[in-house]
Point group: C2
Chain length 479, copies 2
């Protein structure tokens, strides 16, 4: 364990190299890596591999999968303990570029008014989710290695390029590399955990997800237009696949999608465990629904926001059936009159304890549709994985918490986050429980003007602290 | 009345000038005039005006409206009778260009296999709907004027550029030009009335239409994302405008859209009149549902096709609620996870006797939605006009029928067509009842590979006959 003075040497290195470290973040954000569109993913993988080499990693590999590669790297420090570092280097698409105040791949640093005050922020697709935290962690490792020669723990990096697709081939990779990965004590996922008021939110798990498309088509149905959209006057004697999809969807949920009415859908959902209930109650004390509304620019929740315990419980422990997109027929300007030959929607289901099997969800929906005569409606599954949870008492979580405290920050512990990540591979398959960690702030993941804070304010940490936190954690955990 | 030899002179002129006449059709198809996208409409109006001048029209005017101009022209022949000639020079958009065998604005003439045998056809957007028939009529007028000096009737041309938008400003034009237009005996709409087997279908009226958009948005609703699409994990505690639109739509129809469940929607719909019933029964004898299915590439009708009377009655005298298009959220490739902030659909309602007031339909839908708490769902009306019908006994209809017979063609009389055109302006406002007319064939209006036949086969007339028919009709009517 290094003396305080040794950590201060590392911190000094960070301060002296901060401009270069930020430039490295910009460089990586400027390299598009949109997995859904196969845009720049290979180039991003190569760039990332070059960073791993620069900081002294061994066995840097770009491991092909059936779609986008995993970048794998080891940093052996001859230490007792090994940590897996899970990262994602892909991002969501950009389909509303005109709404961005700075182009999504320029990574410009601009002034930004947060509710908590002025900051400067790097604007770019993937900046918070998660290229900013990823590069910050790599920079922090560089700072330790350059200053002290080696880390207090061994690291094995697993950076995937398909997280935004639902990590379809990460299971293959984990299976293939199982022998190299096993024996690690825990898995960390570098993030920036501060919200817009600098409040630190530590999540101990993730919901699972199943993502699929539903399609009603004349071709499958045998009714309606089969090959192409036809003149809409034919609606009087030819059926409509579009109405069919709407009818089918309307059997799957009610109350504007609040209640899922798919037969057996809720059967596996359980109440929060005793530990989770305790964490939820504690969390409810400090939880500020107003700030969520501010960030998302929404006016109200489905549930009473004064009953914070229930609001949080619903958020974190409810399964959902969301329509991510729907399209059919003519969607341009003006009044084109067609009877469409097909209608398609994209749907995601978030999985909570104990919805353990994504395939079961698909089967339930198939059966639900079949039982109502909708056997022609096609289900195309795009991905699916289960939920995961790490105990608050695990040493990795305790090290994260004590590191946060050492920066004079309180931490709000979330038993689960509503977002999905394939952490079950670590928690369940590799038995190296996973935890998000990090100081710093960013927001608008998946939305226009995604950002991370570079220069903070009274509440929100700047990018310097974000770097130093990872250093502190590695030493705390390595103790 | 000219002797047969005089008509033959005109026919000879057509035969000698046919290549040039077809080139004129190509030239007009090559000039895009997509009213919904405001693409080429002004240029097309100018081109059309130049044609009217070339054939000797007086008072050729490009009359501005609040959107696209009407091209107006008079051809005074010092005759007793005046006919109005309604035309449309705008077309539907092209949004599936890759499905076209020949580019939609090249107007190439290519071999085509019809069910009735090989033909050569001009492929292009607007070729059948209705640039081909429009230019053919103009060519026919040129042939008469060039050969005989003048026509047996006076003509007043009204060519609108907004038919595909539902003719929003044609009522303004008709009102403004009422004094010039009144006193005409009838209105003709040049068309190619043969189907793919050369069978002539003469329609005596049109359904009306109301076209509108429905939109559910967080902004109007106050629930759900207000300003932009947000991460779909928020579905657990934030509402979905997309599900809201689906819920609302599902209250408006059932049985895959076959039955409209909007309160009071069917109240004004009446049974066919005695004359219409008679025409329907006659029509049922020769009506071949198989050929409709062939043309539309559909496998089945909603109703039993062996009961032809009922099938036709449903087609022609049913009101409909069709979804022309629907869109919300992410509609690209792969799995982007968003909770959309709005969902929109385009809907058309076809109006039959006696649904006389398009605004009443909008009011019914508004009240239906309001009564169910959907007062936040916006209705944006894009257009609307009533149905129209001309009696089979009107002299203009009798002249059309006898002209068709003189080409040794039988004619199938349709009391109404399921498509919409704003003929009520002529039938009701100007008291000059309207009728479609024309030999020749084309199809796939509003679809890829829209075409007209140039060189016919054993069943289908070529473009020469299409020209000669208009000549014959003008003399028959002018008698």
């Amino acid at each position: 364990m290094p003396k305080e003075s040794e950590i201060n040497l590392v911190y000094n290195y960070i301060d002296q190299n901060l401009n270069r470290f930020v430039s490295r973040i910009q460089e990586f954000v400027r390299q598009p890596s949109i997995s859904a569109e196969n845009r720049g993913v290979q180039e991003a993988a190569k760039l990332l591999a070059s960073y791993f080499k620069k900081i002294g990693c061994q066995n840097v590999e770009i491991v092909p999968t059936r779609r986008h590669p995993v970048v794998y790297a080891e940093l052996d420090s001859n230490a007792e303990t090994t940590l897996l570092v899970y990262m994602m280097y892909d991002t969501q698409p950009v389909d509303d570029e005109k709404l961005w105040v700075s182009p999504p791949f320029e990574a410009n640093i601009v002034p930004l008014d947060l509710p908590s005050g002025k900051v400067s922020a790097l604007i770019g697709r993937g900046s918070i989710n998660t290229k900013g935290p990823l590069i910050t962690f790599i920079n922090a490792v560089e700072a330790i290695v350059s200053t002290l020669g080696k880390l207090p723990v061994n690291l094995k990096f697993i950076a995937e390029g398909e997280e935004e697709l639902g990590s379809p081939h990460l299971p293959d990779f984990v299976n293939e590399y199982k022998n190299k990965l096993k024996g690690a004590k825990a898995t960390i996922f570098p993030s920036f955990l501060e919200d817009t008021w600098g409040k630190v939110k530590l999540s101990l798990g993730n919901k699972g997800i199943v993502y699929f498309e539903l399609e009603a088509s004349g071709k499958n149905w045998g009714k309606g237009p089969i090959e192409f959209d036809i003149h809409s006057s034919n609606k009087a004697w030819i059926d409509s696949p579009t109405w069919r999809l709407i009818d089918a969807l309307s059997t799957m949920a009610k109350d504007n999608g609040r209640t899922i009415t798919i037969d057996g859908f809720y059967d596996d959902v359980v109440e929060p465990s005793e530990e989770d209930e305790k964490l939820l109650k504690e969390l409810a004390k400090s939880f500020e629904p107003e700030k969520i509304k501010e960030t998302l620019k929404v006016k109200e929740f489905i549930f009473d926001e004064n009953d914070k315990y229930n609001l949080l419980k619903k958020f974190l422990f409810s399964t959902t059936l969301n329509i991510d997109g729907i399209w059919s027929g003519y969607i341009g300007p003006g009044s084109k009159t067609v009877l469409p030959h097909k209608a398609t929607c994209k749907v995601d289901v978030r999985l909570v304890p104990n919805q353990n099997d994504p395939n079961k969800i698909i089967s339930l929906i198939r059966r639900h549709l079949d039982n109502r005569g909708y056997n022609d409606i096609e289900i195309r599954q795009l991905n699916g994985y289960k939920w995961s949870k790490t105990s608050v008492n695990h040493p990795v979580v305790q090290a994260v918490i004590s590191s946060i405290h050492s920066f004079n920050k309180d931490v709000e512990i979330w038993p689960l986050t509503a977002g999905s990540a394939p952490m079950y591979l670590f928690n369940d398959v590799l038995e190296a429980p996973a935890v998000h960690l990090g100081l710093g702030h960013g927001a608008r993941a998946h939305s226009p003007n995604e950002y991370i804070v570079i220069k903070g304010n009274k509440y929100v940490s700047g990018i310097d602290i974000a770097h130093k936190f990872f250093v502190k954690f590695l030493f705390n955990f390595g103790k």
